[in-house]
């Protein structure tokens, strides 16, 4: 199977080059056979990469240690499910996965858009092919997953234990679906530039792809945060680590994009801006994956050090120069069709939204590359850590939350100030009421107060929108349920978007509470002794040791009391993995977590001593579960916005255009 996999990769590379050339040749000479052939080629590439992936999976599951990739990422004691996920554990395998995901996207774009714009699609396809060529080239010639060792080791190095859990299993996959997915709107944008079709076709076609990629990127980020929280044992979920920022920056730019394309669609404005924005978003995605893989910015999570770095840099430079070059070439044709009437309009709110998101992206970008930049400019390596990122991003985030509340209240083009105030009233009161209640409960932290007030305000706005919208429909004679269902289904983007905003609100509430109001305590306890933390009491009942096939474990058994009442047991562990292959990590801390919607009790066994005493570190992180719950709401809202509308496709069926048979080489569609 290895040979088959290997050859499949080379075939995929050759065919991708063919796809690039044939699609452009076909559309330029109007020889549509070439275009169709290129489309078939794209589908073939997908099939070939599936074969290659199956080949690698086969080797991984069967522990074929003759392959370097298998030997480095698996071991005989590795559970089968993790042999499967080790597909993306290392550089070569994960790039193969990237290629596979990209080929799926390309194939679906080809299949879905066959009947769409004949002038545009070949260029879109050629862009997708060009990006594919780069990544397939890497696994063909630079980091092959099928590279053989000169001998067959008896045992592999094994998979790092902290990667052996459900979150790490799906987090990379969702991230890739997000990252790679951003290639599609980018390809549509480049297609528009290359073909000269600079209307908003490219936006209309790529809108759902952008949403889809954005959703998965966001979910991937949340999963990564949850993994870090559960596995890394420092009690937090986000450290502004370069690898985290690498995924966050394109997400910020993508958020700006999915908002501003609504303006172009509705009003035909902002053509140039949207084009530049999608180029920037794609650049950030590739840059992000570059940071993660090249090790150029040392991060605690660095994937690898390798010579992939310079290749990526070259590719990034090429993308930037080519796309902005095309952009400038076409800039005069990207004319706006309308002007703004009023600063108080949804358009303006969206523009401010964009500026703020890009401002945040820029700030994160600067902070992330600061060490490289400073070293290049001054010779000294200087870095900025979490305090910088928080100082810059928190104010921006607060303003954005406020905009989330105001935006829906404003109409397109122009909002009537009096009406605005009227609609503002209830949510505003809710916000003020929240502040008063929190102050009364003793909360003093200004940032938290503002954040919670804004969240209440946004919640008020969203509920008002749903209620008022339903009432309007009810006036037309529908009953409550029908009105509500029709309201959402006829305006999926608007109301789905509101649901997404509610998800964001929940996440913000969780983040605020768990950042500002954390309590932490460390104590060394002998058997029978207790430690207190904010109304909770932990009594140390002693250490126990046990053994499994993979590890020797030491457990600290604790009984938990709240306000004097016993509510359960907590048992953090420290494990020593037996298998020598994981030599670099042979010790692993297992966090003991008790989660409620009110707070998380996060307990770690820091160390233990020969006399049976243990050093326990306990943290109370309020409302962390709201973050994960918010993520689910966000996902649901995103699904609503992306849900297909049957009506539109029916309408498209009504008109068929046929070209008059003047020219025998031009055939009917």
């Amino acid at each position: 199977m290895v040979e088959t996999g290997n050859i499949s990769i080379f075939l995929a590379l050759i065919i991708s080059i063919y796809v690039l050339v044939a699609s452009i040749y076909g559309v330029k000479t109007r020889k549509w056979d070439f275009v169709k052939s290129a489309e078939n080629g794209a589908l073939a590439v997908c099939a070939l990469l599936i074969i290659a992936t199956i080949a690698l999976l086969h080797s991984l599951i069967n522990l074929d240690f003759s392959l370097k990739y298998v030997a480095l990422n698996t071991s005989t004691d590795l559970a089968t499910i993790y042999r499967f996920t080790s597909l993306w554990a290392g550089q070569a395998g994960s790039i193969l996965l990237w290629c596979l995901v990209l080929s799926f996207y390309t194939a679906i774009v080809v299949l879905q858009s066959r009947k769409k714009d004949r002038q545009l699609m070949p260029y879109v396809l050629s862009t997708l092919a060009a990006v594919s060529i780069f990544f397939i080239f890497i696994i063909a010639f630079v980091e092959s997953p099928f590279e053989k060792l000169s001998f067959i080791p008896k045992e592999g190095r094994g998979l790092n234990p902290i990667l052996q859990n459900a979150y790490m299993a799906i987090h990379p996959l969702t991230l890739y679906i997000g990252y790679v997915g951003l290639t599609v709107p980018f390809a549509f944008g480049m297609g528009a530039l290359l073909s000269g079709k600079l209307g908003d076709e490219w936006i209309r076609y790529s809108r759902k792809w952008a949403l889809f990629a954005w959703t998965f990127l966001g979910i991937g980020l949340l999963l990564g945060a949850r993994w870090a929280y559960l596995e890394l044992g420092w009690g937090g979920y986000w450290a502004w680590d370069p690898v985290e920022n690498a995924a966050f920056m394109p997400w910020l730019a993508a958020t700006a994009f999915i908002h501003s394309v609504m303006i172009q669609e509705k009003k035909g404005m902002l053509k140039k801006w949207n084009m530049a924005l999608i180029i920037l978003t794609f650049f950030l995605a590739i840059f992000g994956t570059f940071i993660t893989r090249s090790g150029i910015i040392s991060s605690v999570h660095s994937f690898a050090q390798s010579d992939i770095g310079p290749l990526f840099l070259g590719f990034i430079a090429f993308i930037l120069l080519f796309s902005f070059g095309m952009f400038l070439y076409r800039i005069n044709d990207l004319e706006a069709e309308n002007r703004f009437d009023s600063i108080l309009s949804r358009e303006s709110a969206f523009i401010f939204n964009n500026l703020l998101f890009l401002g945040a992206a820029f700030a994160v970008f600067l902070g992330t590359i600061f060490p490289i930049l400073s070293e290049a400019l001054t010779g000294n390596k200087i870095l900025v850590g979490p305090p910088y990122f928080n100082r810059v991003n928190v104010p921006i985030a607060l303003v954005l939350i406020m905009l989330m509340g105001i935006g829906p209240l404003i109409s397109w083009r122009k909002a009537s100030f009096k009406n605005l105030l009227k609609n503002f009233l209830y949510p505003l009161l809710l916000g003020i009421f929240t502040v008063i209640v929190l102050l009364a409960l003793g909360m003093k932290n200004i940032t938290a107060l503002i954040a919670f007030a804004f969240c209440a305000f946004v919640t008020g706005t969203v509920f008002t929108e749903f209620i008022r919208g339903t009432l309007v429909r009810m006036r037309r004679g529908e009953n409550f349920l029908t009105a509500f269902m029709r309201l959402v289904s006829r305006n999926k983007r608007r109301y789905g978007g509101y649901i997404v905003h509610m998800g964001v609100v929940l996440i913000v509430i969780g983040v605020t509470a768990s950042s500002v109001f954390v309590t932490e305590k460390q104590a060394t306890l002998h058997k029978g002794e207790s430690m207190e933390l904010r109304g909770y009491s932990l009594r140390f009942d002693g250490l126990k040791q046990y053994t499994t096939d993979a590890k020797n474990a030491t457990v600290a058994n604790l009984t938990l009391f709240e306000g004097g009442r016993e509510i359960g047991t907590i048992a953090p562990e420290k494990n020593i993995y037996k298998y020598e292959g994981n030599r670099e990590i042979n010790q692993e801390t297992e966090v003991a977590l008790r989660s409620t919607y009110k707070d998380d009790l996060y307990v770690i066994l820091s160390s233990f001593n020969a006399d049976g005493s243990a050093t326990i570190r306990a943290m109370i992180n309020p409302m962390v579960n709201w973050i994960w719950a918010g993520g689910i709401v966000l996902l649901l809202g995103a699904i609503v916005t992306m849900w297909p509308s049957g009506k539109k496709s029916r309408q498209e069926a009504f008109v068929r255009y046929t070209v008059r048979e003047k020219d025998p080489t031009v055939k009917a569609q």
């Binding site: 209307g199 209240l409 031009v666």
Partner: protein, 123 residues
């Protein structure tokens, strides 16, 4: 054995890619029911499509304004002003479409709404 498999894959892929050059293009199969057939030069087709999209955008903008007004986000004056602007724009687009479609002379699916807009224009 594996060499055979590789050969088969390679040949299959090559055939699939070469296929379009040999098959006749009858099977472009648009299975959707066709209500309107427009025959035109290639350039006009593109223009028509673009105008059609502009028309759709304007219609949905009008629907949005209607809804926003009912939701109370727009004052009556603003609502009327904006709606008139949109209707004017839409009328302009429809006129262009008509000019191009004069060759085929068939009616469009949104006939009623368009009549309303055209009659407004005459006022």
């Amino acid at each position: 054995m594996e060499t055979v498999i590789i050969l088969i894959i390679s040949v299959a892929v090559a055939i699939y890619i070469a296929l379009p050059f040999f098959l006749k293009r009858g099977s472009q199969g648009n299975d959707a029911p066709v209500i309107l057939e427009v025959e035109s030069g290639e350039h006009e087709i593109e223009k028509l499509k673009s105008l059609d999209n502009q028309k759709e955008t304007l219609y949905s903008a009008i629907r949005d304004i209607d809804f926003d007004y009912e939701l109370g986000k727009l004052s009556k004056e603003d609502f009327i002003e904006l709606k008139n602007n949109y209707k004017l724009d839409a009328a302009g687009v429809l006129k262009e479409i008509d000019q191009i479609r004069n060759q085929s002379g068939t009616k469009t699916p949104d006939y009623e709404l368009e009549q309303e807009i055209l009659s407004y224009r005459k006022r």
